[in-house]
């Protein structure tokens, strides 16, 4: 990915992410005072399911771009940097996919 596109995607994902993150975190804080049934009921809504999946994919994508920048600045050993980037990439793909599967099949 070229750097300009990365820069733009970083900003675009940030703008999408801000309201989603606030909404989702607020929902979780509200659910923290409620029981299991109410939490399940919350995620039964298709709209909420879709928004949650989008949040995780975009959130981890935004994090991936940011981590790349941070590694670029603070890790000077190229090998370690490459490994760190691969780990970040795996994390940013695996976690959202697990969420996708959980929300569609388990919850």
């Amino acid at each position: 990915m070229n750097e300009t596109r990365k820069w733009i995607l970083h900003r675009v994902t940030a703008i999408i992410l801000a309201p989603l993150f606030v909404w989702f975190f607020f929902s979780l804080i509200s659910l923290s005072t409620k029981n299991y049934q109410e939490a399940i009921y919350f995620f039964k809504s298709p709209l909420f399911t879709v928004l949650t999946i989008i949040l995780f994919f975009i959130g981890f994508f935004h994090a991936k771009i940011s981590l790349h920048e941070i590694f670029e600045d603070y890790i000077h050993n190229k090998k370690i940097k490459d490994v760190a980037n691969i780990l970040a990439l795996i994390l940013s793909i695996v976690v959202p996919i697990i969420i996708l599967i959980l929300l569609i099949y388990r919850i």
């Binding site: 900003r11 993150f21 606030v22 975190f25 994090a63 981590l67 976690v95």
Partner: protein, 128 residues
Amino acid sequence: MKDNKNPLSPHIQIYRWHISSLLSITHRIVGVVNLLALILMFFWLLTLSLGENNYELFLSAINSVFGKFILIGFIWSMSFHILSGIRHLIWDFGYGFEIKIANISGIIVIISSLLLTIIFWLLGRGLI
């Protein structure tokens, strides 16, 4: 890196902190903390999918003193990162670079992130 003798900047030990540099590094740290928050949210959903017993256990951890401390910390890190991010976006559009304005916007970010944290927690927990 071919030449490791090049000076690195800034030298933290003799560095005079400004609001701008303090907020810049905090924005980064808090961004990484937000990734941890996202991972906590992942476990939230994971335990929810593992059934009622596991979820109740998770909830009791979240509602302990330590759990609440973590949650409030994450709320602040989210608030700060979003507000500071808006400040960055405004810069990206080319506004607010004057030192005086950058200092004022920095202070606004700090104060409103704290206020937002309090409001968010009280509303979310149903305390107001």
